[in-house]
């Protein structure tokens, strides 16, 4: 045990004396959570739009006022000619143009029908889509308020309630994802690099010739990273609670336990990588390509799994991050207990055992 403690102390020296790993360990989580929280967002706010009103009557003025009154849009300018539409888009500031046809009020009264054209800048498809949806919603709202006193033969009125994230804050989606990325990065990449570093420097050989058992060497390398990952998880959760008002509906204790489980899964992956890679560079490449990409693309963090092609949906089941994201979303947003996430937990547990088993086997082969 005493030997082991000395080993862990040495490992902390390595970490704290290397500015790069210190930055990855502590700078990155904070930077990422703030970036994702503030800068990257699916919501729209005060988007600049232009209006081309061919009618300029009472109805169109009312509609324009409705749009201007919403916090989503601010009307930047009124244009007069169709040919100006392209010009304002090219200037880049305007994201949408509301084009109202001629004689809007009259047509509405006479034919019961009039047209509004919504032209959006789809160089950013997500924003374009959101703008379209919001404008449509405002128009429908207006229409409903006009039709209030007329009874229609059939009327389906949808009542929408967005549960678990009523304000549709995208930060609620990013926090679980960022937490997963960070834990994966710190645990898997940093351990695989630190183990391969010993191989590269030749110190691993010295350690294997010493009375330390191989598993003691590995556990000794891993323990500091468990400790630091737990600190990171705490930092991320605290930041998201206090800065982004992210709720933790479920048990903090369960959240902690599940995080430790995922940390161990990631560490097992890191150890596995280090049994394959012989240099720090390879270890880093494998970690980035083999772990980070799937975490970002296939975990459901940014792109919904349900809308992926079937083959990718199947592959996504192999990504531990997918299960962890389901677990933390469940605990933090829905407040579920273990009875709802035991399946995901079991899958992570199974993966961890599998990775550790595989590394032990690989490690033995290498020693032969």
């Amino acid at each position: 045990m005493k030997r082991f403690r000395g080993f862990v102390i040495k490992e902390f020296y390595h970490i704290f004396r290397d500015k790069r790993s210190l930055f990855i360990l502590f700078g990155m989580p904070i930077a990422q959570i703030l970036l994702f929280g503030f800068a990257i967002t699916n919501e729209i706010n005060n988007v600049d739009i232009a209006v081309l009103d061919h009618s300029k009557d009472a109805t169109t003025e009312e509609i324009i006022n409705k749009i201007a009154a919403s916090s989503y849009f601010s009307i930047d300018q009124f244009i007069e000619r169709e040919s100006d539409i392209e010009t304002v888009f090219k200037q880049g500031k305007i994201k949408a143009v509301i084009n109202i046809e001629k004689d809007f009020s009259q047509k509405l009264i006479k034919d019961g029908k009039a047209h509004v054209q919504i032209i959006t800048d789809a160089t950013d498809p997500n924003t374009a889509n959101t703008i379209y949806n919001y404008v449509t919603a405002i128009l429908q709202n207006y229409q409903r308020s006009k039709n209030n006193n007329i009874t229609m033969p059939y009327q389906i009125s949808p009542q929408t309630r967005m549960v678990y994230n009523p304000e549709l804050k995208s930060v609620f989606m990013f926090v679980p994802g960022v937490m997963t990325i960070i834990l994966m990065l710190v645990s898997a990449m940093m351990t695989s690099i630190s183990i391969t570093r010993e191989k590269e420097l030749g110190t691993m050989e010295i350690l294997l010739v010493s009375p330390l058992k191989p598993f003691q060497v590995i556990v000794g390398k891993v323990v500091p990273y468990i400790f630091l990952s737990v600190i990171n998880a705490i930092v991320i959760v605290v930041l998201s609670i206090f800065i982004f008002k992210m709720p933790v509906e479920g048990s903090i204790f369960l959240l902690g336990l599940e995080s430790v489980l995922f940390i161990i899964t990631a560490l097992a992956l890191g150890i596995l990588i280090s049994t394959i890679a012989t240099t720090q560079q390879t270890a880093m490449m494998i970690s980035l390509m083999g772990l980070m990409l799937p975490v970002i693309l296939l975990s459901g963090f940014i792109f919904p799994i349900a809308s992926m092609p079937l083959i990718l949906q199947v592959i996504s089941n192999l990504v531990p991050a997918k299960w962890f994201i389901i677990i933390i979303k469940g605990i933090m947003l829905k407040g579920v207990g273990l009875q709802f996430i035991w399946k995901e937990t079991l899958i992570l547990l199974g993966m961890t055992v599998f990775f550790i088993g595989l590394s032990v086997k690989k490690y033995k082969i290498r020693l032969e």
């Binding site: 005493k2 030997r3 403690r5 000395g6 080993f7 102390i9 040495k10 020296y13 390595h14 004396r17 290397d18 420097l201 030749g202 110190t203 050989e205 010295i206 350690l207 294997l208 010739v209 010493s210 009375p211 330390l212 058992k213 020693l367 032969e368």
Partner: protein, 242 residues
């Protein structure tokens, strides 16, 4: 095992698939001896050493190191030997003192013993001003001397040195060999590989490996007589070129 032998090797063989890296080598090393283990690159020296220090299992044959079998008692061997590899192996980002403490620690030395040993070692190497400097900032020759001393921390019966003096200037090499003599005189057995033939002359006995086999084994003096040459260098060239 004979009273005097600390290493007894009999028919030790290592195969990697069809390739025979070490082919049935047999030799003994006596207590307190400086045993030179020579051979060209790829002759199988490193593989042989790896079997002797217990990190690689022999395919056939047997070997006893410090009285323990390399196949079944590798853990006991590890406690009784020191090892310094051709790759320099202290931690650059730890200070001299931290390195000593760490390596003393993994060999299970008590804290008091480590302190005592640290002072002794620093005194001996004249490192008083550098105890708390990072090892990475020291010249290579110093690092290697510290590395050697560290491999002796737990007072092993045998030290394996795998090309300990690679890339070091002649003066430092000379000093290094003085350290080797000193610990041999205290009864430590030295098992050393080298590419420098002048170093081979310093050994009590020398074995020369060619293509996985030991082709010659005797004192440098007798080997030179046997091959009728002036220097160990010529002996080596005659053997290695076949």
């Amino acid at each position: 095992m004979k009273e005097n032998n600390v290493i007894e090797v009999k028919g030790l063989t290592k195969m990697f698939g069809d390739f025979t890296a070490v082919s049935a080598i047999t030799f003994n090393v006596k207590k307190g001896e400086i045993f030179g283990f020579l051979g060209a690159n790829g002759a199988g020296k490193t593989t042989a050493i790896k079997m002797l220090i217990g990190i690689s299992k022999p395919t056939a044959g047997e070997a006893k190191v410090a009285g323990f079998d390399v196949g079944s008692e590798a853990e006991d061997i590890k406690k009784n030997i020191g090892y310094m590899s051709q790759k320099f192996a202290l931690y650059d980002d730890l200070t001299v003192r931290e390195n000593i403490t760490f390596f003393g620690g993994i060999y299970g030395l008590s804290r008091a013993r480590i302190k005592e040993k640290t002072n002794e070692l620093i005194e001996e190497l004249g490192l008083q001003d550098f105890t708390d400097k990072l090892v990475g900032s020291l010249p290579l020759g110093w690092k290697q001397k510290i590395s050697f001393s560290v491999s002796l921390l737990h007072e092993p019966k045998i030290v394996f040195l795998d090309e300990p003096t690679g890339g070091v200037d002649p003066i430092t090499r000379r000093q290094f060999w003085e350290m080797i003599y000193k610990s041999a005189s205290k009864g430590t057995t030295i098992f050393v590989t080298t590419h420098y033939m002048d170093e081979a002359e310093y050994c009590d006995r020398v074995s020369i490996m060619v293509n996985g086999k030991i082709e010659a084994l005797d004192t440098p003096k007798k080997l030179k007589e046997l091959y009728n040459t002036e220097t160990m260098n010529d002996v080596f060239l005659k053997l290695a070129r076949g």
